[in-house]
């Protein structure tokens, strides 16, 4: 970046007008985005280099300033930061895994269940499925006629959350999805419970909604877990994440990238990040920074993936050079129709995991669980130490393509008990103090387990430098 900045200053001298210097400075800015994305340059350092470059240009008569996103990075980086967690330090959470379905503290709340309760310093985070009791018939009146339309969502403001020692909790709800009388999403309850509290209860005016234990049962934890060095370079990791985003766009956007289709636009968005970064520029920048070998096969695989996506479903579609996992996911969606958007999500099945994973590249992760429905499978994760995610979707002015997915710097692959791999695609995220809750689509969806059964998933998370592989039990 610094050498590029020097080149930008020289371009100012040799250029016919100040636009030459500004264009060269934009190239430095794009390189910053690429190298930050690859995880080889810290945001604060990149922002400082850009700010200094802007100052150096302006005192030489070139009006160029870092884009607001760069300044936001600087501001965000200047905030007092939580000390980086140490690998040997205990996890910053207490995780209360869900009991097997039906074994919650009596009296039971039929249909309601949490995946796990993650207790942080100031709150509880609990991905959950809540079934709301129907409103009782009015006294002396006839029972309500069958509803033609789905009932309206109950008011959350009427809910109360308490524990058995009298603590009241402020409840907020994120990632909400409604299907009939069932709510799926993540509960946030503040404050953190006292250590001697044993049971959490959530009530509505119509009755009990949830009872969940607050005592820590023996941690199920991963059955097997190991952290190894990532076998590919930071540049290859970044290009692989872009490929996974393209696979996600294909899986969720349609079968074929016909011109003008949402998938074609998504592919376009992936091939040019803000500032119209071309794949060639990405490769050049990564190679110049030593983050990508010129002999790496990954750029070719990404190009082949793009061709595959553009022609998928057509006879003779090229399949060459794609890693087996990519091909398997693509093949699944090339032969199936994508789920219809906009239909209410049935309650589906919930699989509780509640596993605390070892640190990966400075990130602490808790896998809360998975939920399957006709709309797919969502895995709920809590993370601490995650990279700064954009404050707003990254869009190009005037570009109608959908924004490129947020890049957490992590690749997620999940293998089911039948050996099939599922890619984890970030669907949404929510920042809460130092923690971030993530919802990951698993593509293709997992087959739901039968209630009361237990299965095992293999979760593979790859960061810039390390890979974590864990076998975790799932309680359906």
């Amino acid at each position: 970046m610094r050498l590029l900045a020097e080149a930008a200053l020289r371009a100012r001298r040799s250029g016919a007008d100040s636009g030459t210097g500004a264009a060269a400075a934009e190239r430095v800015s794009r390189a910053a985005d690429i190298l930050i994305g690859a995880g080889v340059v810290e945001e604060l350092l990149a922002a400082e280099i850009l700010v200094m470059l802007g100052t150096a240009l302006r005192i030489r008569g070139v009006e160029w300033r870092p884009e607001p996103r760069g300044v936001r990075r600087l501001a965000a980086s200047a905030l007092p930061r939580q000390p980086a967690p140490q690998p040997a330090a205990p996890a910053p959470w207490r995780v209360i895994p869900a009991r097997a379905a039906g074994s919650e503290p009596a009296p039971h709340a039929p249909g309601s269940r949490v995946m796990a309760i993650i207790v942080t310093a100031d709150r509880m985070i609990a991905p959950a499925m809540l079934r709301f009791p129907e409103q009782p018939p009015a006294p002396g009146g006839a029972s309500n006629p069958p509803a033609v339309n789905p009932p309206a969502a109950p008011s959350f403001a009427d809910l109360t959350a308490t524990d058995d020692v009298g603590t009241g909790y402020m409840v907020s709800f994120i990632d909400s999805q409604w299907a009939g009388g069932t709510w799926n999403g993540t509960l946030m309850l503040r404050p953190a419970p006292p250590g001697h509290a044993r049971v959490l209860t959530i009530n509505s005016p119509n009755g009990l909604i949830l009872r969940a234990p607050l005592t820590t049962a023996p941690q199920p934890g991963p059955i097997r877990c190991e952290v190894t060095d990532a076998t590919d370079s930071p540049g290859e990791r970044m290009l692989t994440r872009r490929a996974e985003s393209l696979i996600t766009a294909f899986a969720t956007g349609g079968r074929r990238a016909s011109p003008g289709s949402s998938l074609a636009k998504a592919a376009g968005a992936l091939s040019k990040a803000p500032g119209a970064i071309t794949e060639a520029e990405v490769r050049r920048t990564l190679e110049a920074a030593g983050a990508l070998s010129p002999l790496s096969p990954v750029p070719g695989q990404l190009a082949a993936l793009g061709e595959w996506v553009a022609t998928a479903g057509a006879p003779g579609s090229p399949h060459a050079a794609l890693p087996a996992r990519w091909a398997a996911v693509l093949a699944h969606y090339a032969r199936r129709r994508p789920p219809t958007a906009g239909t209410p999500a049935p309650s589906g099945e919930m699989g509780a995991i509640g596993a605390v994973l070892p640190m990966l590249d400075g990130v602490r992760l808790v896998i809360a669980g998975v939920r399957t429905s006709s709309q797919g499978t969502v895995m709920h994760v809590a993370a601490r130490g995650l990279r700064t995610l954009p404050w707003a979707p990254a869009t190009v002015p005037g570009d109608t393509a959908p924004p490129a997915p947020h890049d957490t710097g992590l690749s997620w692959w999940i293998r089911d008990e039948w050996g099939a791999w599922h890619v984890g695609a970030l669907q949404s995220w929510h920042a809460a103090n130092h923690d971030t809750t993530l919802r990951l689509f698993l593509l293709p969806p997992l087959p739901p387990g039968a209630p009361g059964t237990r299965g095992t998933l293999t979760i593979e998370v790859t960061g810039t430098w390390h890979r974590l592989t864990a076998d975790v039990p799932v309680h359906w």
């Binding site: 020289r10 600087l74 200047a78």
Partner: protein
């Protein structure tokens, strides 16, 4: 050997109170001719008195004598002109170091961009404001130092570069500083595209230069000690009479002995040089001693 022995004294005029005073640089030090007892004035300022700007400049110079940002903002060559003025630096100070600005500032003043181009108040989070203002204030101080003029810009850059060994933990900054300046010297020497020059920063090892290819595609790979920045470049000695200077055997002004080479494949050899006057950038105009071509 002190790198600055190849530089003559220089002076700048600084608005100080109601007057304009001379700040003088000589033998690596600043001298405040109008403030013979600057230390006493510092004490008075600490007790609530008004600190004269000359004294403030002297303190600012000392604060940034090892600040690598000087090399980031400062000149790359004598032809690299920087438009930094006292007025701009004052405007920046008046706008709370640029973090709050409600009026459009004159061109050339660092600030923070806002989508849409207009400059509006940038409301930093309170906890980040102190850190942001510290950084902004450091840049304003650099602006004030750069406003002393080209002669002081080169001398400050030399001071900074001389204080950093290549293995001092700041190799990326030093490599960039060395590359940006040596590439322009190589261009002046050979006419090569500066972007085709690749520089490796060394400690005090022997410089090496290797030319690869020919014509427009030629590339120059150079390994240079970081001390080249102070002892050669900051003294205006980089290219003299068609020779590239890679080191200084005997610093001095107006006469010095350097090690230079006439072509990329040649071995550096001692060359006596003499300053014949003041050149661009407030630096001496050097010629090879006895060279009658000019």
């Amino acid at each position: 050997m002190s790198w600055y022995l190849s530089l003559p004294p220089a002076q700048a005029h600084v608005p100080c109170g109601a007057a304009t005073h001379v700040v003088r640089w000589e033998a690596g030090r600043l001298a405040l001719t109008a403030h013979p007892d600057a230390d006493a004035e510092v004490v008075l300022a600490a007790l609530g008195g008004i600190q004269p700007r000359c004294v403030a400049i002297s303190q600012t110079w000392a604060r940034h004598a090892a600040d690598l940002d000087v090399l980031t903002l400062g000149p790359r060559s004598p032809a690299d002109q920087i438009a930094a003025t006292w007025q701009e630096a004052q405007a920046r100070r008046a706008s709370w170091f640029g973090l709050f600005t409600t009026e459009r500032l004159p061109p050339g003043i660092p600030g923070i961009a806002r989508a849409g181009g207009g400059r509006r108040p940038f409301l930093a989070p309170q906890s980040a404001a102190a850190e942001l203002s510290r950084r902004a204030q450091a840049r304003i101080e650099l602006m004030e130092l750069l406003a002393l003029g080209p002669a002081f810009q080169f001398r400050l850059a030399g001071t900074v570069a001389a204080g950093w060994p290549a293995d001092g933990g700041r190799r990326p900054e030093l490599t960039a500083a060395l590359s940006g300046r040596f590439a322009l010297a190589a261009h002046a020497w050979l006419g090569i595209d500066p972007d085709a020059v690749h520089v490796t920063a060394l400690d005090e090892a022997e410089p090496t230069l290797q030319m690869h290819g020919a014509g427009p595609g030629r590339r120059l790979r150079a390994s240079l000690p970081v001390s080249w920045l102070a002892s050669v470049w900051a003294c205006g000695l980089a290219v003299i009479g068609g020779h590239l200077v890679v080191g200084v055997e005997q610093p001095g002004w107006p006469r010095a002995r350097v090690r230079a080479l006439p072509a990329p494949g040649a071995t550096p050899s001692p060359v006596d040089v003499v300053a014949t006057g003041e050149g661009a950038g407030g630096l001496p105009r050097w010629e090879i001693a006895g060279d009658t071509r000019r």
